[in-house]
């Protein structure tokens, strides 16, 4: 995650008027303040020490950040809204909805989140989780089953070569992505994400790399991170070979983070264009409009 999506902010005319009236002038040097999400984390001992020290020493000298820290603490101390409670409850109790023939490999994000918890987040010293079968008491799935996260289709052509060192060791971008996706298929979602993050970083202008990363983040249930990945990639030059694929996975990320209006727009396009994801997108659209 970067400091959110770094676009030049587009302000409405009335916003610009109001800002001018209250004397808020853009400055040439830009803000040097840390991302707001770091402020409380720096106090809670969950950040790397070096970063935490840098955040704290900045805050000591910045009245705006001090006020923002206090305000964020107050806002976050409030009870969660009802829809947040319902969303979390749905994530906890939703049952896996595997596709026939792909049992347990292509679980929806909720089941994948369970897998992630198993891989990474079992508390130190705890006993292993109970078998899947005991999840039978779970209540019905909250996210429409049509939004199944499977492997993104990466076209063989129209892919740039990434040259690293020796010509004989050239590995195409698509091969790197395929290797990472294979890793995800074997269940190592965390490893695949790390690999794809590197690939996406080295290929900052590639929509394909972002697509693969976002798709695996979705499988791991890292929905908010997936939305960020797609948001960032949205500004890149469109790659016609993966337009539908990109929009399809982007829309799943949006559905999972309750941005249904934006998801509808994307699904509508995929549905109309009649490509490989068209049927799924039309069905997804119908689900959302129900």
């Amino acid at each position: 995650m970067m400091r959110e999506t770094k676009r030049t902010p587009a302000f409405d005319a009335d916003e610009i008027d109001a800002l001018r009236d209250i004397g808020w002038q853009p400055a040439a040097d830009g803000s040097v303040c840390p991302d707001s999400s770091l402020l409380l984390a720096a106090e809670d001992g969950v950040l790397d020490d070096v970063i935490a020290d840098r955040v704290r020493s900045h805050v000591q000298t910045c009245a705006t950040c001090q006020q923002l820290s206090r305000d964020l603490a107050a806002v976050f101390a409030e009870d969660p809204a009802g829809d947040a409670v319902a969303r979390i409850r749905a994530r906890v109790t939703a049952a896996p909805s595997p596709r026939p023939g792909r049992l347990y490999l292509w679980l929806g994000g909720l089941a994948a989140a369970a897998a992630m918890a198993w891989f990474l987040f079992v508390p130190r010293g705890s006993t292993p989780p109970v078998p899947e079968t005991q999840l039978a008491r779970a209540t019905p799935v909250a996210i429409p089953t049509v939004f199944v996260v499977d492997r993104p289709i990466i076209p063989p052509g129209d892919v740039d070569l990434t040259v690293r060192g020796d010509v004989s060791k050239r590995v195409s971008l698509e091969d790197q992505i395929a290797a990472a996706l294979d890793r995800a298929d074997k269940g190592d979602l965390a490893g695949a994400i790390l690999e794809l993050e590197q690939v996406a970083k080295r290929n900052g202008t590639s929509r394909i790399a972002a697509l693969a990363l976002g798709a695996v983040q979705l499988r791991a249930g890292r929905n908010a991170e997936a939305v960020e990945t797609f948001d960032r990639a949205q500004g890149l030059t469109p790659n016609p070979a993966v337009t539908d694929e990109f929009d399809w996975f982007y829309s799943i990320a949006l559905v999972r983070t309750a941005n249904k209006d934006r998801a509808r727009t994307l699904l509508d396009g995929v549905c109309r264009r009649g490509g490989a994801r068209s049927a799924s997108a039309c069905a997804g659209l119908a689900e959302l409009n129900r």
């Binding site: 770094k6 030049t8 109001a18 040439a28 803000s31 040097v32 707001s36 969950v46 969660p80 079992v122």
Partner: protein, 155 residues
Amino acid sequence: METFDEVYQRHLPTVLRVATRVVGRRDVAEEITADAFLELYKQFDRIDAARLPGWLLTVVRNRGIDYWRRQQTERLMVPEAESAAMPSEPAREGENPFAHPALKPIHRVCLVLRYQHGLTREEIGRRLGLTDTQVRGHLQYALTLLRKNLVAHTG
């Protein structure tokens, strides 16, 4: 013995509050909170109720540490080149025009994130667990109030 639902209802607010502080944003906090309860759900028959909510908070904290390890925190410290085009903090300390006493914390947070950090309303909404419309409402309210205050001051 309490059912899972009772435990969930009782501890959710606390766990979510801690998760939100740990990652500094509500959307990610919801995910790690769900993970913690999912873990509890899977092991519910074996976990001593007396260990709650401490057990849940430990999971959330570990999950938060893992989240930060995955982030490129270095980049969160230093703005990128584009940020030169956006408004920065006031040059002189104590002159933050957004720090008006009549504004509530939520208003000031929305103002700073939008006009100082350059986030979109949607991005702010995700971080604070609000809809775009709610963010728009907070911003409009706050700007109107600041404007009126200024007019009263000068007029």
